[in-house]
Symmetry: D2
Subunit: 335 residues, 4 copies
Amino acid sequence: MIKIGIIGAGRIGKVHLKSITNNVPNAVVKAMADPFMNEETENYVKSFGVEKITKDYKDILSDPEIDAVMVCSSTDTHAAISVEAIKAGKHVFCEKPVDHSIEKIQAVADALEGTNLKFQVGFNRRFDHNFAALRKAVDDGRIGDPHIVKITSRDPEPPNPAYIKVSGGMFLDMTIHDFDMATFLVNSDVDEVYVQAAVLVDPAIGEQGDVDTAIITLKMANGALCVIDNSRRAAYGYDQRAEVFGSKGMVTDWNDTVSSAIVLDENGLNGEKPLFFFLERYMQSFTAEVCQFADAIENDTEVPVGIHAGMQSVKIALAAKKSLEEHRPVKLSEI
Amino acid sequence: MIKIGIIGAGRIGKVHLKSITNNVPNAVVKAMADPFMNEETENYVKSFGVEKITKDYKDILSDPEIDAVMVCSSTDTHAAISVEAIKAGKHVFCEKPVDHSIEKIQAVADALEGTNLKFQVGFNRRFDHNFAALRKAVDDGRIGDPHIVKITSRDPEPPNPAYIKVSGGMFLDMTIHDFDMATFLVNSDVDEVYVQAAVLVDPAIGEQGDVDTAIITLKMANGALCVIDNSRRAAYGYDQRAEVFGSKGMVTDWNDTVSSAIVLDENGLNGEKPLFFFLERYMQSFTAEVCQFADAIENDTEVPVGIHAGMQSVKIALAAKKSLEEHRPVKLSEI
Amino acid sequence: MIKIGIIGAGRIGKVHLKSITNNVPNAVVKAMADPFMNEETENYVKSFGVEKITKDYKDILSDPEIDAVMVCSSTDTHAAISVEAIKAGKHVFCEKPVDHSIEKIQAVADALEGTNLKFQVGFNRRFDHNFAALRKAVDDGRIGDPHIVKITSRDPEPPNPAYIKVSGGMFLDMTIHDFDMATFLVNSDVDEVYVQAAVLVDPAIGEQGDVDTAIITLKMANGALCVIDNSRRAAYGYDQRAEVFGSKGMVTDWNDTVSSAIVLDENGLNGEKPLFFFLERYMQSFTAEVCQFADAIENDTEVPVGIHAGMQSVKIALAAKKSLEEHRPVKLSEI
Amino acid sequence: MIKIGIIGAGRIGKVHLKSITNNVPNAVVKAMADPFMNEETENYVKSFGVEKITKDYKDILSDPEIDAVMVCSSTDTHAAISVEAIKAGKHVFCEKPVDHSIEKIQAVADALEGTNLKFQVGFNRRFDHNFAALRKAVDDGRIGDPHIVKITSRDPEPPNPAYIKVSGGMFLDMTIHDFDMATFLVNSDVDEVYVQAAVLVDPAIGEQGDVDTAIITLKMANGALCVIDNSRRAAYGYDQRAEVFGSKGMVTDWNDTVSSAIVLDENGLNGEKPLFFFLERYMQSFTAEVCQFADAIENDTEVPVGIHAGMQSVKIALAAKKSLEEHRPVKLSEI
């Protein structure tokens, strides 16, 4: 039984607490820390049988019984806490992005060097049933050599303007998932990025120096071409699709809905909207990623999403920012 | 070049005139007859290059240049004209149903006996791209031995009450196509029929002694079971689907629409209604059936829908009527 | 917090144990009983925090802290245990069918008379996301007055021959779910049943006096017509679909799959099979039904599937058996 | 009755001959010219009742009875013949592209200046049932303000290498249809083009200085962003899809297939490939575009695809070539 400490009791920390307790057979949450831990949260956490509840994450790092930590704190603390945890000899599952700074991510990579510790980044979408099926089709050779990757990623609603400011911009906050998806689907790094973007959803986003609509072209290291289209607001819900086209065919998917029911009446055919909220859409993936993390620890095998992926996705995001600013294609080697 | 005479210049006669002229490469319409031929119709027919236009169909039967006739007159004249045409040595394409009376259909079969003439019944739906694909899947063994056949056949609007009276009732007028489809899809005659029916669409239909909604169970001679569901009125248009389930799998289809466009908005997914009008839905099949008729003549091969099919469908319809009246399963051998 | 005792630690008892513990917020499993309780099962049950584990279900009935029991024992004990539980003042959730005998179900109904206890039957499919959406469309008036109900229910594999013998036959064992679904979808009892059935899957089933393929027509009390098609073996998995057609339109659904991925290659379009195993397909519904049971207790409201539904489904099944034997439509009033 | 002369009796000239004769009610083909007219072609043309058959297109231009000409000759003669025809007072339907040179297209525009003649460019895909439905959804405001346009356009097979050389390259030969589609779908010109392309299908294409796989980003004049993905070879057939996303929702489509039949078996769900050959896929659009041309002449209304569209598409293609060469975004104003 792997003993886990969760650092950060916000939304995603609670998601992991519940899914580990209910659905990860070889792991148990022993401790949970949050600087803002209050009575309500404490009671909630206790109801899952967590033994140690604290405001100080160092209590977790110093606990010799804890095998692994989930870093679910605010983004700006991910890298530092990860390094501390590694130094304390803990396996680490770190929410995405590891950091906005290449240097800080590199510091985590350096800390890992020479240890036998597992470090997994929380790119949960790789574990989504639909996207995992796409990758499997590629791995199984069903589409031949990949030529074109297409990712549609549209949020149901923009974040509030205050968040936009601290988010690092759309590419580091939202598209970073898609950058990781691109590398995942065809198992390749990225060479070059070009961005065409605009403010079409909300002028307030533009006023903060960010964009809300984008088409991003990637040249993959394996020669494939990739395009991502993003919007901060899809009126019909959360739109998350991908397609991989290759020498032998293509594989594509469709959004999940609550049910498959369709009504046919004098107005035509009417089906349901995609699931609106990311926790509905991706709940299964949050469980699956931690199951694989626990298995990697138990069997001493490679984690499915390591520090290289954490670094690559941020590099692509930074190249995208530069492409937007300089209005030209930008090589990842420039970052 | 097969020279064709069309008897009957109503809606379906005109459909054949146009499709033969434009799309049947080895046939030409040389003559057209209708007792109510007027100037407008005559001009229309002439525009297709038809040489002989007449009020008397006997002018066609006596024309030695005519190879084949299309019997598109009113249903009560189909059998008699077919017999005359056969006696005049013409191949015959007869619209469905051949007649409502078993005896009259038998008379046509008797007339054909010993001749080498082709006789095809106008069950056009067999030639529809979707239904033909279902049959092909069955023939190719993709579903194994057929166990269950399901046919959904719902009209967009009921006929006017006056027509109901002379139609012979829903089973002879509308379901007859579905009876033929059942025998076609699994290439088998029918043993037994059971009807559960109701008047749910329009009480006026009930007042004329007919039904407008039905579920009809068939026991096929090859052991498969079949169910047909009928309604005289589907608010969303013409609903024409089928499914064949067997030991290895199943094949099913969906209705045709004008386009494949779907809109996703805050109300969900919205697609188009099925094509509403039978001439839109089945136009391609009207051409295909005559192409095969012409080919059967040219190559002296079997027609795809012969007098046996014409007889079988009417027998099933009469058994269905009897089942409705006597509220019990009825064997075809009782008819 | 509603305290629940589960009677029967077989497959479905364990399903309820897990789903109540993890997903029913206002209920907790306090006790579990099974005459064959062994160490392995005991350890499994304990891991969910169950306090009392026993071989004798009477230990549960006599525990004053227990509010409600789940009757998950073998079918032949459902009715008797239910009556005992009611007499002990417990709310009851009883797996389907309540019994094969009308008299024994009536005894349960009689026991309930005059009490304020909740009694729910485990027709879980009503709570399935797809079927619930169909019913909601009907309730919302989107299809108008229901005219035709179609239910497709095909198992992935036949039960083993030994089970066939004790199962009560296909109608009581398998179709009973579909009978309940018919009454659920249009919220109506059934008037009359007609069965056309065959042995097409496995002669061994026929040798035990049962059938494996059937088309069953129901005349609903509200005038609608219904057809169910059953097979004991669908090569492609578990096929569970329904359609309701009415005066304003229709609503239909499709099977669930693991993912929405489709591959297009030189062989055409390839998508996934339906989920194969009923526990995969219906897991969400097992949680939903117990949530509603717990809510009905907490709020003293009506249960969603009461003893009337438990009785109705068995009556339809018995009428179906009679129809098959006597080869004629059978009224429910004859049962 | 509009009298039409067709210049060029190649594949597309014959398509127009057949579709005008059979399906355009207010037009008739009176003359057909081709420098390589041979007996076989002459007989074919005659069978459609064409009166004048000639090797010299000037015979058509000088015929005072001819109202309009279809320019279906080789691309390098489109512009010159169009100018001659305009000077002869004929309405002109010119196959795409008008020319590869901006100057020559401008010469056609200049010739039209001050006349009341109709000039239509053969961008038939605008008239395709699916793409027309997408535009209609946009026009009807169903998706709000357009933000993102996505066009997938993949050919079933690359042209032979010899043709590549004279084709002007993929952008002028193949993508030009997609450039026009982009402007059509959101009714806007283009401001800027960026190309990321590769040779992934066939090295022989690269040896001729062309590409076979591309992702092309367009910034539309109305602010929307557009992306086109192209491949010269889709193993599964002709892939022609588009999607328009906007402030209120999105509209998307799917490829046409021969039938809607799907087989479900132990290997999953199997449906048909898209139609393979462009003449199958787009036949209906070839008729529709000429119907609208004839109507524009008859009613003296605007043609649906005028010289501006002919110019715009070529400008975008030339900007795309420049972007590929210089590896940077290129403004249309640079062309």
